[in-house]
Amino acid sequence: MSEVAAGHLAGEPAKVTRTRSLARIAKEQAANIGWIAAALLAALLVGAIAIRIQGIDPLSAYGAMATRAFGGWRAVGNTLKAATPLLLTGLGTAVVFRAGFINVGQEGQLYIGALVAAIIASADLGTPGWLQILIAMAAATVAGAAWAAWPVFLRVRFNANEIVTTLMSSYVAILAISWLVNGPLRPAGVAVGSTAPIRPAAHLPFVPGTPIGSGILIAVAAAIIFAVVFNRTPLGYEWKILGHNAHTARYAGLRPARLWLLAALASGGVCALAGAIEVLGVQFRFVEGLSPGLAYVGILVALIARFSPAGIVLVAILFGAINAGAIGLEMASGVPAQISSVIQGLMILFVAAQVGLRSLIGRGPRGSH
């Protein structure tokens, strides 16, 4: 049996074990990227059929998409702008899912952040623009975190299923905000539900000398912080234990209520930050229907990336490119921009199919005795 034949770990020099494990990690990462690339390719192939049915040459259509997504600084700016909310809500998904708390209320958290940021950034605080931006983002983060906390209480106190409570919390938030921006908060003379425009000084600046919004920098910084917390701190370790086996966590004396609360606060905060950046850097006021389900796409991004922050950055940029590219495609050839949803949906399907494929290809069942 393998355990008898395999080298005895204790007897080997420390270096060997370490190198081996690094090689294994590298191999696993390469395999993950390979699988995602395979899913993308498969999705593009099936998408090509859909495009072909409309009588358009898929290759030139995809060419137009790629140009619109990556051809020049402006295109890159659009791709990254589209990627930013997906990245942040992806992180907001990873942190709770890792801890075994299936929060799906990201969309509502994003809306709360967007509204709070819009209210603060449109008010005259008498502060410099940069300070107003910081206050708006901080307040949005706190509001989103607070909103994400109560489903944890319901779960811990009454064992209420968090998938239901968080999903409902999203509807409550979005509909309450809809009432606010159609009622008390709507400026006079505006037809659509919205807040007043934010002050020009409070617009999120571009990265100097480029057409790239600075939102992506905030999002990538958040990804780095999450990666460090996940992999380098006791908190990230305890989230992992709790997410993998709640019984072990309880037996070892970890405190699920506290861990879930921290995860939910982080999730709510980072998703609200996504909303704030949409307002401060893209829309410049809160408009009803601000997000066409961005946070749900963020959940998918996190699932595809298997909750790894680095993976989420990559997949979010990929999805941002597909979204940005699809708009160019529509303008160039008349293929509806919804093709981006088709391709992303197919990717999810193929990624989900991989779980089954991997077990078929990779290895058979494990030996018992």
């Binding site: 081996r20 992992k240 234990i241 072990t248 004396g253 030996g367």
Partner: protein
């Protein structure tokens, strides 16, 4: 007696990916024979049995029953051909009755409907024919583990099988029920059936079987008539070392050695007073237990499973709420403290179910070894882990406890049961705390792991810790403990110094036959 083989296994090989679990095994069994299969964990015993019973598909080789080849990987065909298996982990449906479980798959019908009454009659008939009394209308969930196993056996016998396979049938049974089961096995053989069984208990192998086969690393390395071999020889074949070294693993007269090494009655570390615990259904599962465990002492709790031992341990660990009573450790009342607070300086815990509680199977060996140590300052720089310090710590445990893994980042679930248990024992016994709770530490582990674990428990006591052990293996309790308490229906029915309590009285107390 008919000499044609009732069962022939011919060149069977089973590969899981690159792993060869069973390697070209051939054997033959006669009708009327009890054949025991022994070997370490991971030697391939269960896999081989699964192939014979049609649960696992072999890569190569064939099985034939009474000269007729058996289709591979088809349990139903195997049952119809007369091969049935009683599995180590029960496969009954807990919410259904005994009769429903037994007839499942070949239910008596009236028209298109299930015939409940005839099912009950069939089961009553089987029960009296094989002298295995059971109430056909009892709900399986309400039965004690020994009776559940009886249902499993009747379920297999209901197919009128000629070959009965049992996988570690006595592992969960108290001594008297185990010996009764061995009688039943002999009875089945006397009727001309073939009984194949897997066991880690060499004593019972020698007492019940006609022949024995030894599997090591998937190969059948020895086969012999039972009268021509001995326990030390079997043990040495299992671990592949000479008989003298194997003697050490068998721990002959370990108990006497441990007791003589005892440093006199120490001060009480654990003091439990009038502890009552109520389970989720409102049943009083621990009913007023008083128990002290002194420093330097191993106290063993024995009893038939389900008499409150598991709940008692969980209550001390803080995982389960107590209804009333007091738990003190080192003079401090910890009754109101949660698990985290109790583990901080009071106790460590080797839990009963290692895969359910003790380990995260999908996480790495390193992640599992550092659990509980991960907040210590020596492993951190500010808020951040010192990854090298954690690895060095984990590597130290791997070396000290002989945990066999390919690398520290290997998911612990890929290791054998014995190695997972060694890892948990390593982790928990390294905590600097006065009390160590240990539940079923060697269930299902091979003798080599058992030896490591027993040695470690003795070291802990010798170093002045108090060790509270729950085990359903009476031999283990007698070998390790200074004192024994027998649990029956949530109470201690018998307690005292191990050397003064006789095995017979313990057996009586376990079955509730002993008055207090």
């Amino acid at each position: 007696m008919d000499d044609s083989p009732a069962l022939r296994v011919d060149g069977v090989t089973v590969e899981f990916g690159s792993l060869r679990a069973v390697d070209d095994v051939s054997l033959a069994c006669r009708a009327g024979e009890v054949y025991a299969l022994v070997g370490e964990n991971g030697a391939g015993k269960t896999t081989l049995m699964n192939v014979i019973a049609g649960v696992v598909r072999s890569t190569r080789g064939s099985i034939s029953v009474a000269g007729r080849p058996l289709p591979v990987g088809d349990t139903r065909a195997a049952l119809q051909a007369g091969v049935g298996m009683v599995r180590q982990h029960h496969t009954l449906i807990p919410s259904r009755t005994v009769a429903e479980n037994i007839v499942l798959g070949h239910e008596p019908r009236r028209g298109i409907f299930y015939d409940r009454r005839r099912a009950a009659e069939l089961v009553a008939g089987l029960s009296s024919r094989f002298a295995l009394p059971i109430d056909p209308n009892a709900v399986v969930a309400d039965l004690p583990v020994g009776l559940k196993q009886r249902v499993e056996l009747l379920k297999v016998l209901s197919w009128d099988v000629r070959i009965v396979i049992l996988d570690e049938p006595t592992a969960v049974l108290p001594p008297d029920e185990a010996s009764r089961l061995l009688d039943v096995m002999r009875g089945l053989a006397a009727e001309g059936r073939t009984v194949l069984f897997i066991s880690h208990k060499l004593k019972e192998v020698v007492s019940v079987s006609d022949r024995v086969g030894v599997l090591r690393a998937g190969r059948l390395v020895a086969e012999s008539a039972i009268v021509e071999t001995s326990i030390p020889e079997l043990a040495s074949r299992m671990i592949g070392e000479d008989a003298a070294a194997a003697g050490a693993f068998l721990g002959v007269d370990e108990g006497a050695a441990a007791r003589s090494a005892r440093a006199g009655a120490g001060t009480p570390v654990l003091a439990v007073e009038a502890l009552r615990v109520t389970d989720a259904d409102g049943k009083q599962c621990v009913d007023g237990v008083d128990l002290d465990v002194a420093a330097g002492e191993i106290t063993a709790i024995v009893g038939v499973e389900g008499n409150g031992q598991a709940e008692f341990m969980e209550a001390i660990a803080g995982i389960r709420d107590v209804a009333s009573g007091r738990v003190s450790i080192g003079g401090t009342d910890v009754t109101g403290l949660d698990v985290e607070a109790r583990r901080q300086g009071y106790l460590a815990h080797i839990p009963e179910d290692r895969l359910f509680n003790g380990a995260c199977v999908s996480l790495s060996l390193r992640d599992n070894l550092i659990l509980g140590f991960h907040r210590e300052p020596r492993f951190r720089t500010g808020p951040f882990f010192r990854a090298e310090a954690l690895r060095a710590f984990a590597r130290g445990l791997v070396g000290a406890f002989d945990i066999r893994a390919r690398y520290l980042d290997q998911p612990i679930g890929e290791l054998s049961g014995g190695n997972i248990q060694r890892a948990i024992v390593a982790r928990e016994s390294t905590h600097d705390v006065p009390l160590v709770l240990v539940a079923q530490p060697t269930r299902g582990v091979d003798i080599r792991a058992m030896a490591t674990i027993h040695a470690r428990l003795r070291e802990l006591a010798a170093a002045g810790r108090a060790v509270l052990l729950v085990t359903s293996d009476l031999d283990e309790a007698l070998a390790l403990s200074h004192r024994i308490a027998v649990f029956f229906r949530g109470r201690i029915l018998l307690g005292g110094e191990t050397r003064e309590i006789g095995r017979e009285r313990i057996g009586l107390a376990m079955s509730g036959a002993l008055g207090t």
